[in-house]
Amino acid sequence: MVRFPFRRATLERTLWTVIVWFLFGLFVLGPLATVFAFSFTSSVLSGTGTFTLKWYGQLFSQPGLYGPLIRSFEIAVIVVVFQLMFGTIIAYSTVRAKIFGAKTLDTLSNITIAVPSVVVGLSLLSFYGPFGPFAAITQFLFGNPLSLTWTLWILVFAHVIETFPYMVRSMAAVLVKLDAHLESAARSLGANRLHVFLTITLPQLKPGLVAGSVLVLSRSIAEFGATIIVVSAVLKTAPIAIFTQAEAGSLELASAYSVVLMLVSFVAYLLMSRWLLKGETNA
């Protein structure tokens, strides 16, 4: 009788491991690794490309090429700051302050996860554009129609709407668990509302603020669907630049962009989460 050196359970585990890693490689790691490889290839089209660093050289030497990377991070920073205020207010209003329509607002705050991002872009362009209600209202109020088309603000609004659920959900999750008795105790001891918020509430919100900021930052840097509808040419972000380069047939340059974006996003993610959470445990 033949004796197998491994038990059946080990064999099954090994087989399962191979299948799962094969599928993960096929759908996730493989495509990402191909982008990585293309970024170091002299010419993908020729099929006989050699190793080169020239695409990275071009990317970091020409302002027109590295500009979109900078734009992406600048816009993401603005969006994070905006969300820290706006997202927190909405989450606080729905979970703690229980304003009228809190449940509806809570449900609606997830709407942009369900709505395609390109629809968000179009709706912003329609609302804030020269032919939309915003222009009509400003015309009525100030005698001059105001249009936000191709401005920085419509782009920021698009990113805020797209990232909105991530901040609200992160904050709401923390707010639900918040111990309200601590605040009541502080108030009963004579602390005013602001003092209670700064010294009792805010410290407990920290995990939500950190998690929400990281998610908003990553999502904003990667945002494409709404951005391509509302973005002005000079404010072109990195995902749009990748799309443009790929469309123009510069697969190698588009790949170099992608690799840089992946690396920088990943490092930002690690730094922000680890550093801040480490700070919290040390505090």
């Binding site: 010419s43 089209l45 020729s46 099929g47 006989t48 020409q62 302002p63 027109g64 500009g67 900078i70 734009r71 991070f73 600048e74 816009i75 920073v77 603005i78 994070v80 700051v81 820290l84 362009l125 554009g129 020269p130 032919f131 222009a135 129609p145 249009s147 088309t149 191709w150 401005t151 920085l152 700064l198 010294t199 805010l202 410290p203 920290k206 002005s232 040419a233 000079v234 404010l235 072109k236 443009t244 469309e247 123009a248 047939g249 510069s250 550093w275 801040l276 480490k278 700070g279 919290e280 040390n282 505090a283």
Partner: protein, 322 residues
Amino acid sequence: MRSKAFSIAVLVLSVGLVVSLTDLYKVQQGTLIVYTTPALQSLLESLVVPLFQRETGIGVTLVYVSAGEQYTRLRMSGGHPEADLFLHASPLFLEKGSSEGFFLPFQITRNASVPPNFERAPVWYAFAWSPLAEVYNPALGAPPDLAFLNTTFGFPHPLLSNNGIYSVMFFENVSAAAGARALAHTVVQPVNARSNILGVVDGTFQVTLGYEGVTLFYKSQGARVAFDLPLLGGRRFLTPVVFSAGVVKGHPNPRALDFINFLFRDEIQSNISRFYFRAVLPGFPDPAGGITLPAPGMVVLNYDWSRWSSLESALPKYVVGG
């Protein structure tokens, strides 16, 4: 919450916010925006823009979207356009936009030197040109006669790309029947001149009508394609693809016209062939490896762009399934 890390994070975010807003505003205010085509990418990014920026200190942003899309973008701006200039492979949208009040009349400083078929002052001036070429898979041996086309064709999208506009112009003026035949053999409609040539390179289709300049660009990168002047009914046709410039009405940057004049300088015109296009001003070299002109027996098609509306009305019938 009084932890050092949190204070630093607040400081970093505050500084980041101020720096970001300042930089983004600066970029928005001081940049010349040019709506153009991917076909001109190398020429503009490697030659024109670096020289212009070095001389004037003005940042230039090039926007590569299809001409139709850019025109729509211009119309959507409601009198507050984002773009200063249009540099495109066909004057159709410049003609149309001019008649609809979206472009300004202008005159370049070297207008007297531009040959008549490369301008329609004061609406547009061409600064470079390239012959429309029949681009095909070298395995076919010779360029197929388009009158008897019997293989897959890539008819560029006429509503999204200037390459499509030139293809329609060619067939409408030479043989609408051959155009219908080409459309019947079309498997994919590329949306710009670059993706059009790439369709032949990657084998999506065997034949297309593209620009000599774009084909030469890809051949220099190792792409395996062949090209010649389009052959139809046994005759070869020279159709100049005119890369033309127009000034957007209400454009935000006051140096827009300087950029156009810059395109006609000797240091630009003399180097255009390095980027596989042909200079419009006489006396400058043609691109290496390009079609030798004049070709024996060729017929020249110089389109009168003032007839743009009749050409535009013919475009939709060349959309597959349209």
